[in-house]
Symmetry: C2
């Protein structure tokens, strides 16, 4: 599920945009290696040389793209945020109803988390390493959900009184189901867990 | 909303149970001071002398209860977990229906988080400082929700097919609504946010 090298990168605070295809490939390698290094060692123990070594790159090439370990970390959080968004968007289909769109987006997130187990630790550590990135990650994820809720309301499929807080509630449900069933235990399938979330979104938990 | 000094403390790994009322008061003071110190400075910058100074106690009295900053941190996470559970239990009432019990428990959590803003940072930092405490905090919170769900199913008020994952979904909803509306922004009341969660639990988000 790795992102194609020619995908545009989000703007990196303190990072430099590559201008060539080769540059984009190198940046992608650095970000992937950083995800493994930060995920395994945590921010403080992670090192730039550990990251370039994982990426199979010379230490000096790091500085073509980033000023510091901090700026790489910020870029990585921003990259992971964007990739979660991209994964969800790729599963959306105009033929889906609004509830189906929530299922597709959540399934994409679960699959991404299963394949990139390090995402939880990295995002969670951002709360301490770079609080603005942490907040931005969740604000932007909530915004994506809220845009889908608005679409569902416009189509008359969702209740007309949904507001921003409903999006945050759905995001929290998704994040914790992911933590429990994609990271801490793997005994239940994506489909099964997506069905639990869907059943709550569809009819709540009260006996009909 | 401070806990009465005579409340039993949860067993502390590495901590020593006080045997007298005076000892319990001192331990309570230490834990409250630790919550402020860890919440404000984070685990690594926090110091034992900063904590005893906040508590108005001599540095030496710290070691009557704890071996180290680590053992105090573990005790604090365990204490916060227990207090969240106690706050919820105190609002439960046999006259409530099962949905009302969820509202009461979530409102108690929101109020607790508003009054103890440091709880999020401390629990979140536990993922890095003491991962077992972090996991235990959420496993036990999910268990409390799942016990209430079982009660609601037995009473025939909740759908009979709810399982553990539904409890994790509800917990995630509550945690993220708390993060957004008790910690990051305060413009909406506990009642208003509890109503959002209730509306999802009651009928989902689909137009009836």
């Amino acid at each position: 599920m790795s992102q194609p090298a020619d995908t545009a990168f989000p703007p990196f605070p303190g990072g430099k945009q590559p201008r060539t295809e080769r540059g984009r490939r190198s940046l992608r390698k650095l970000l992937d290696a950083a995800a493994l290094e930060f995920g395994e060692k945590g921010f403080h123990e992670a090192s730039i040389s550990g990251i370039t070594s994982r990426a199979g790159m010379a230490l000096g090439s790091f500085y073509t793209y980033f000023d510091s370990k901090d700026s790489l970390f910020r870029a990585l959080v921003s990259d992971l945020s964007a990739r979660v968004g991209t994964e969800a968007r790729e599963r959306l289909d105009p033929a889906q109803d609004a509830l189906g769109a929530e299922r597709a987006a959540f399934s994409a997130f679960l699959d991404f988390a299963r394949e990139h187990q390090e995402i939880y630790r990295i995002i969670d550590e951002a709360e301490f390493v770079d609080p603005a990135s942490f907040r931005q990650h969740y604000e932007s994820a909530a915004q994506r959900i809220n845009e889908r809720l608005k679409t569902g309301m416009k189509k008359g499929e969702f209740r007309p009184d949904l507001d921003e807080a409903h999006g945050w509630a759905i995001m929290g449900m998704n994040v914790f189901l992911g933590l429990k069933y994609a990271i801490w235990s793997e005994g239940r399938t994506t489909d099964d867990i997506a069905s639990v979330a869907q059943s709550i979104l569809k009819g709540g938990i009260v006996k009909p």
